[in-house]
C-alpha cells in the first residue's frame, strides 16, 4: 500500500505541494487524497511540469503519484560541515560547506583550494575574537583630548600617520586579493581575511582622521617605501605573501604601534596606536598559525620562505628603505620637544624600537622552524621599510 497523503481541503495554490514533496522525498509512490475543488485541475498539471507520473484512482479525489527523474541523483556533498576537506572541488562553487550540491553547477576559478596551503585550526577562534573586538572609531578614540606638544612634533605625527596609512592600504589590499581567489569551502579563513580587511579599513580611517586633526595636508610618501610595498602586492603565492606581510611586516608593525602607544605625546595618538596594535596581533597570529601548519605538511616551504626574503632584499637593494623623514619623525615624536636631552631619549627609543622589531621577527621565524642563526640572518634582510 502506498503512503497516503491527506491534503484535506488544502489546495495546491495554498501550499499543499509541500506535503506532497515531503512524502515523495521518502516514498517512490504515494496516494494523495484531497477535497479542494481545484485539486483535479491543479494536481495533474503540477505533476506534469515536474515529470511525476500520476494515475487517477477510481475514487474521486484520490491520486497515485510516482516519483520522477531526480535532479539530485548525481548531487554530492561539498565536504563536511564540521571540518574542511583536504581539497575543495571547483564544482562545489559557492555552496555552503557540507551542502548537497546539484551536479552541473558552474565551476569557479578559485585556485586557493588546498587545505594545506590556507588552513589554520585557529581561524575560527581568531575570527570570533575579531568579531567581538570590533571597535567604533567615533567612540573608542578620545578625539577631543588636549594637544599641548609643539607644532613640529605635530608635523612628525602627521608624517608617521601618512606612512601608516600607506602601509595599511597594502595590508588591506594584499589579503583582499587572495580572499577573492580563496575557495569559500575554507569558510573560517575567508571570514578571517574579510574581517582583517575591515580592520585595515578602520585603521586607515583613524590614522587619516588623526593626521588631519590639526593639519589640512598629509606628509610624504617615498618611492622606496612604495617599492617595498609593491613587492608584497606582486607576490602571487599565498604562503609567501602571508609570510612577508603578516609574519614579518605586520609583526614589525606591532612593535611600531606599541612604540607609538608608549611614546606619543597625546592621548588620541596613543589610543589609535593601541587599538590598531590589538587588531594587528590577530593578523600576525593567523599568519603564523597557517604557515606553521603549512611548513609541517610541506618542509620544502621553509626554504621557499627564506628565498623569498632574500629575493625581496635584492629587489629592494637599490631603494632607500625607510625614508629618513619617517625615521626622524619617530625620533621627534618620541622626544616630544627640541631639547637635546629629549632628542637623545627619542633617538635611543627608536634604536630600541628597531632592536625590538628584530627580536620579534627572530622569535616568529623560530616558531616556523628556522634555527637561531637562520632567523637572525633572515631578520636582518627584512625590508628597512618595516612592512
Amino acid at each position: 500500500m502506498p503512503q497516503v497523503v491527506d491534503l484535506g481541503d488544502l489546495a495546491l495554490d495554498e501550499g499543499a505541494h509541500l506535503l506532497i514533496k515531503r512524502a515523495l522525498a521518502v516514498h517512490e509512490q504515494i496516494e494523495v487524497r484531497g477535497t479542494a475543488p481545484t485539486l483535479g485541475v491543479d494536481l495533474p498539471a503540477w505533476c506534469r511540469a515536474r515529470g511525476l507520473r500520476i494515475n487517477i484512482a477510481f475514487l474521486p479525489g484520490v491520486y497515485i503519484l510516482h516519483r520522477g527523474p531526480g535532479r539530485w541523483d548525481k548531487a554530492e556533498r561539498a565536504g563536511s560541515a564540521d571540518a574542511p576537506s583536504a581539497h575543495a572541488e571547483a564544482r562545489w562553487g559557492l555552496a555552503a560547506r557540507g551542502a548537497l550540491v546539484e551536479a552541473g553547477a558552474p565551476t569557479l576559478d578559485l585556485p586557493l583550494a588546498d587545505r594545506s596551503a590556507v588552513w589554520a585550526d585557529e581561524a575560527a577562534r581568531l575570527y570570533a575574537q575579531a568579531s567581538a573586538a570590533q571597535w567604533d572609531p567615533a567612540t573608542a578614540i578620545p578625539w577631543d583630548a588636549p594637544v599641548t606638544h609643539p607644532p613640529e612634533v605635530e608635523d612628525a605625527i602627521v608624517q608617521v600617520m601618512t606612512y601608516l596609512i600607506e602601509n595599511e592600504t597594502a595590508a588591506l589590499l594584499v589579503p583582499a586579493r587572495f580572499l577573492a581567489r580563496l575557495h569559500p569551502h575554507f569558510r573560517e579563513v575567508m571570514q578571517l581575511l574579510a574581517i582583517q580587511a575591515a580592520d585595515e579599513a578602520r585603521h586607515i580611517e583613524v590614522f587619516t582622521r588623526r593626521a588631519r586633526l590639526r593639519r589640512t595636508e598629509l606628509g610624504l610618501s617615498t618611492a622606496g617605501g612604495q617599492a617595498s610595498l609593491a613587492t608584497l602586492f606582486d607576490e602571487p603565492d599565498f604562503a609567501i605573501a602571508s609570510f612577508l606581510l603578516s609574519v614579518l611586516g605586520e609583526g614589525s608593525f606591532l612593535s611600531l604601534l606599541w612604540f607609538l602607544h608608549e611614546h606619543a605625546p597625546d592621548a588620541c595618538t596613543r589610543e589609535v596606536a593601541r587599538l590598531a596594535a590589538q587588531d594587528e596581533a590577530r593578523h600576525v597570529a593567523f599568519g603564523l598559525a597557517h604557515l606553521a601548519r603549512h611548513v609541517d605538511e610541506d618542509p620544502t616551504l621553509r626554504e621557499r620562505l627564506a628565498a623569498s626574503i632574500e629575493r625581496r632584499h635584492s629587489a629592494l637593494a637599490h631603494t632607500a628603505g625607510l625614508n629618513e623623514e619617517v625615521f626622524d619623525a619617530l625620533i621627534l615624536l618620541a622626544a616630544g620637544s627640541w631639547e637635546p636631552a629629549a632628542l637623545r631619549r627619542g633617538h635611543a627609543a627608536v634604536v630600541e624600537l628597531q632592536k625590538d622589531m628584530d627580536e620579534g621577527r627572530r622569535s616568529r621565524l623560530s616558531r616556523l622552524g628556522f634555527d637561531a642563526a637562520q632567523a637572525a640572518a633572515l631578520s636582518q634582510l627584512h625590508t628597512r621599510n618595516f612592512m
Binding site: 489546495a11 495546491l12 495554490d13 475543488p37 481545484t38 483535479g40 485541475v41 491543479d42 495533474p44 498539471a45 503540477w46 506534469r48 511540469a49 515536474r50 515529470g51 520522477g68 527523474p69 531526480g70 535532479r71 541523483d73 548525481k74 546539484e102 551536479a103 552541473g104
Partner: protein, 273 residues
C-alpha cells in the same frame, strides 16, 4: 539547404530563450557525432511552408502546425518525438463568481488567448460549440492576441484574458490547466474565480518530419537525453520537460474538430496546396 548528413531543424522564435535552447541542442548533437543546425522562424505558417519546400528536415511544431503539415502533405507527416509535458494537457474555463456552468455563460463575454492558440482559444471554444454555445452567436469571444502566428506559445495572451476576467470586462477566461495554478501563485487570479469546465486531455507540440527524412540518429539521441545528466538538464529545464517521448498523434482529435469547425486554416491551406 541541407547538405550531406546534416540535420536542419526549424523552430519558432516565440521567446529570446529559443536561441540558447537550440544552441545547446546543437552542441549536444555535435558532441555525439550528429551534424545539426537550426533555423528560426517568426511564425509557424512560415516554418511549415519551409518544411514543405524541404528547406528543413524536422520541424518543432505546435499542435496546430502539426495539423497544418499533416493536411498540406497528407500521409507524409510523422510525429517522431514530443515532450513528456506535451502529453495529456487540459484547458479550463474559469468564471467570475456566480457562474457555475458553460450554459450560465450564454450571451456572455468569454476571454480567450491569441486567435491561433490551440489551448487558450481553439480547443476551449470547441467545447463551448459542442455544448451548444456557438462562438460569435451564443457567446461573445474576446481575443487577447499576443504574438499571433506563434500559436499561443507565449503565455501573455492567457495572462491578459485572466486579467480581463478579474477586471470584470469578460465573464470567463480560457487557459491551459497549469497556468491556472501559475496565475494564482502570481497573485493575479483570486480563489473566488472557480473552474467551471475542464476539457478532455489533448497533446501539444511534436517534432514533425515529412516522408522518410533521415532522422534516425536525431531521434535516437533525443530520446537518450536524461534529466539526471547535469550537462543535459539545463536544456531540458529551458525547454520545459523531464523526458522526450516517442511521438503520438492520438491527442490531436479535439483540435482537428476545432480547426474543421472554425475553418481556422482553410485559407492558408488553399494558398499552400
Amino acid at each position: 539547404m541541407t547538405t550531406g548528413k546534416e540535420i536542419v531543424l526549424g523552430a519558432v522564435a516565440y521567446d529570446a530563450k529559443v536561441v540558447p535552447i537550440w544552441e545547446g541542442f546543437r552542441a549536444y548533437f555535435g558532441a555525439r557525432g550528429l551534424a545539426f543546425d537550426y533555423v528560426l522562424y517568426s511564425n509557424y505558417e512560415r516554418q511549415v511552408e519551409a518544411h514543405l519546400r524541404k528547406e528543413i528536415d524536422v520541424a518543432w511544431n505546435s499542435p496546430l502546425a502539426w495539423i497544418e503539415s499533416d493536411r498540406a502533405a497528407p500521409g507524409r507527416a510523422r510525429a517522431i518525438a514530443m515532450r513528456d509535458t506535451d502529453c495529456d494537457l487540459t484547458s479550463v474555463v474559469i468564471a467570475r463568481p456566480g457562474i457555475t456552468s458553460l450554459e450560465d455563460l450564454r450571451g456572455k463575454r468569454i476571454g480567450v488567448g491569441a486567435g491561433d492558440s490551440p489551448q487558450a482559444t481553439l480547443i476551449p471554444l470547441l467545447a463551448f460549440a459542442e455544448a451548444g454555445l456557438e462562438p460569435g452567436r451564443d457567446i461573445e469571444v474576446v481575443r487577447h492576441d499576443v504574438l499571433v502566428g506563434k500559436h499561443g506559445d507565449h503565455v501573455g495572451g492567457e495572462r491578459d484574458a485572466v486579467k480581463a476576467l478579474v477586471a470584470g470586462t469578460v465573464d470567463a477566461a480560457c487557459v491551459i490547466d497549469g497556468n491556472r495554478l501559475a496565475f494564482t501563485r502570481e497573485g493575479i487570479l483570486p480563489a473566488s474565480h472557480a473552474v467551471i469546465f475542464q476539457t478532455p486531455p489533448y497533446d501539444h507540440c511534436n517534432f514533425t518530419v515529412l516522408g522518410d527524412a533521415p532522422i534516425g540518429k536525431f531521434q535516437e539521441l533525443l530520446l537518450a537525453m536524461s534529466y539526471t545528466d547535469p550537462q543535459v538538464r539545463p536544456l531540458l529545464d529551458m525547454e520545459g520537460l523531464k523526458a522526450w517521448r516517442p511521438g503520438r498523434t492520438s491527442g490531436y482529435a479535439q483540435l482537428e474538430r476545432a480547426v474543421d469547425r472554425f475553418k481556422t486554416i482553410d485559407a492558408w491551406l488553399a494558398r499552400v496546396r
